[in-house]
């Protein structure tokens, strides 16, 4: 048992290398993940944005955090897709009949999700810079933003793991992502919540996306962050823990 445990990190590294190769050999996974949020960003900046009163003079700066969250929400759908395909094709059975750490194949997918979403986020930030996004934030603020986004990715990735492991069809494996992609629309991501009618506003102000968006926005524009960052972190960590525990339970049952 000990020898198997000792190899956990190298086994996981091999698994990460494998799925990163998948991503670089079918660049469509990065392209499809980034193209919709980028199109959305251009639409809002150049078509709708002019009519939206945000209290910030640069609408891209207002919009970007929500766009990044949308990209991550659609990116994790690929994690459940890849996981589902591995289960379906029997390659997981091959891995599990080799003396490797039992959870290494799963962690390989989780790390891949983290890396590939980071690439998507970078691509979108580059496009945002072209459309006029500017930030006065320092290194520490950027690190904090990266940390929040990484936690958000992990939280959604573990949800994606549950979906990928329990799905019975390819379509089912990715379907869980649609409501997640839609969540930023009912939040402070595109417009301030003040103009929304009562119940919608109550929902928008108390769902995780708003806290996360507000925290990132404040960090990027060098404003006082306040409580938002703690609420955002609490949401991310809370979702992550619950999803992780349930995902591991499903995983142990399936393999």
């Amino acid at each position: 048992m000990d020898t198997v445990k000792n190899y956990f990190f190298s086994d996981m590294g091999i698994m990460l290398g494998r799925s990163m190769r998948h991503i670089f050999r079918s660049m469509d996974t990065i392209i499809t993940v980034t193209i919709t949020p980028i199109a959305m960003m251009l639409l809002f900046v150049y078509v709708l944005g002019g009519a939206i009163q945000t209290g910030m003079d640069n609408y891209v700066n207002y919009l970007l955090p929500g766009i990044l969250l949308m990209a991550i929400a659609s990116g994790v759908a690929y994690t459940s897709y890849r996981l589902f395909m591995d289960m379906q094709r029997g390659i997981f059975e091959r891995f599990h009949s080799i003396p490797i750490a039992r959870s290494a194949p799963l962690w390989g997918h989780v790390l891949t999700s983290l890396v590939s979403n980071a690439i998507s986020v970078l691509v979108i930030i580059l496009v945002a810079l072209l459309t006029g996004f500017r930030s006065s934030a320092g290194v520490l603020s950027w690190l904090a933003v990266a940390g929040i986004l990484a936690l958000f990715t992990l939280a959604l990735t573990w949800i994606a793991v549950i979906a990928g492991l329990s799905a019975t069809s390819v379509d089912g494996a990715g379907a869980f992502a649609y409501p997640l992609i839609f969540l930023p629309f009912i939040s402070s991501a595109f417009v301030p919540t003040e103009t929304m009618p009562g119940p919608v506003r109550a929902f928008a102000e108390n769902q995780p996306v708003t806290a996360i968006v507000d925290a990132i926005r404040a960090l990027l524009s060098n404003q006082q962050v306040g409580n938002d960052i703690w609420i955002a972190l609490a949401w991310c960590v809370g979702i992550m823990l619950v999803a992780y525990v349930s995902a591991m339970r499903v995983y142990k049952r399936r393999v």
Binding site: I14, R25, G90, E93, R94, I98, P99
Partner: protein
């Protein structure tokens, strides 16, 4: 030193309330080819999954290479490899990358060398750097078996290794399995083709309704039937004979 590579006693497994295995007993001698014969849904794959530690049994014991599957799964995994019913290869990687990946996971040294030897042995050197998604069914199966041989495990499980293959690829697989056994590897295979068991296996067991209803060499099994009557029948070539003859001629040209 015991002579049995695989020992199974009273193996039981049910899915929910549906009993699949109701007390399976079998033994496989080291270095032999053992065929588990049964119709679809007889529980052949369930037996393989339990013996390869992918599934836990409800009752009975099974030991592989002297290690109990339930209490020493890691030692069992070190002694075996599994080639499942569907070619478990990575489609996006090349054949070489697939082999190197398994060699790394088995923590071998000189993974490149291991991959090269197997590619050569299975006639895949020419296509080694092509993506597996471009391989034919036979090539895929060959790669699949090659991946099982990485690290030279002493016991190999093949679950319906020739299902879905064309006759030529089937013969290739048979040749490979015979070579393995000649080199001292124990082979446990399942099949639903009677001629496959007849061609390959030293011992054959028939799994029916959750139990082994017959177990022995081909000669033993033949004794279970009434004595042979001599009849004169004109031997017609089978379609398989014809197919292989035509293909063979084409390739010689």
């Amino acid at each position: 030193m015991q002579n049995e590579a695989i020992q199974v006693k009273g193996l039981q497994k049910s899915y929910k309330n549906l009993p699949v295995l109701e007390g399976v007993d079998l033994e496989v001698e080291k270095g032999s080819i053992f065929a588990l014969l049964g119709s679809n849904g007889a529980g052949k794959t369930t037996v393989i999954k339990i013996l390869t530690t992918l599934l836990k049994q409800d009752g009975g014991t099974a030991s592989i290479n002297g290690f109990d599957v339930a209490t020493k799964p890691d030692s069992v995994r070190k002694s075996i490899s599994l080639t499942g019913q569907f070619a478990a290869v990575d489609e996006i990687l090349s054949g070489r990358e697939n082999l190197i990946m398994i060699a790394q996971l088995r923590h071998l040294k000189d993974t490149r060398q291991v991959a090269n030897e197997l590619l050569d042995r299975f006639g895949l050197t020419d296509v080694a750097d092509r993506r597996v998604s471009t391989y034919s069914g036979g090539m895929r199966r060959r790669l699949d078996i090659a991946m099982s041989l990485v690290g030279k495990p002493p016991i190999i499980f093949l679950d319906e290794p020739t299902t879905g293959l064309d006759p030529e690829a089937r013969l290739e697989v048979w040749k490979t399995v015979k070579q393995l056994a000649n080199n001292g590897t124990t082979v446990f295979l399942t099949t639903q083709y009677l001629d496959e068991a007849e061609q390959l296996a030293d011992r054959i067991a028939i799994l029916h309704e959750g139990k082994i209803i017959a177990n022995g060499t081909l000669a033993d099994l033949k004794k279970l039937f009434p004595p042979t009557k001599v009849e004169y029948v004109e031997k017609q070539p089978t379609l398989e004979d014809i197919f292989l003859a035509i293909i063979g001629k084409k390739e010689k040209k």
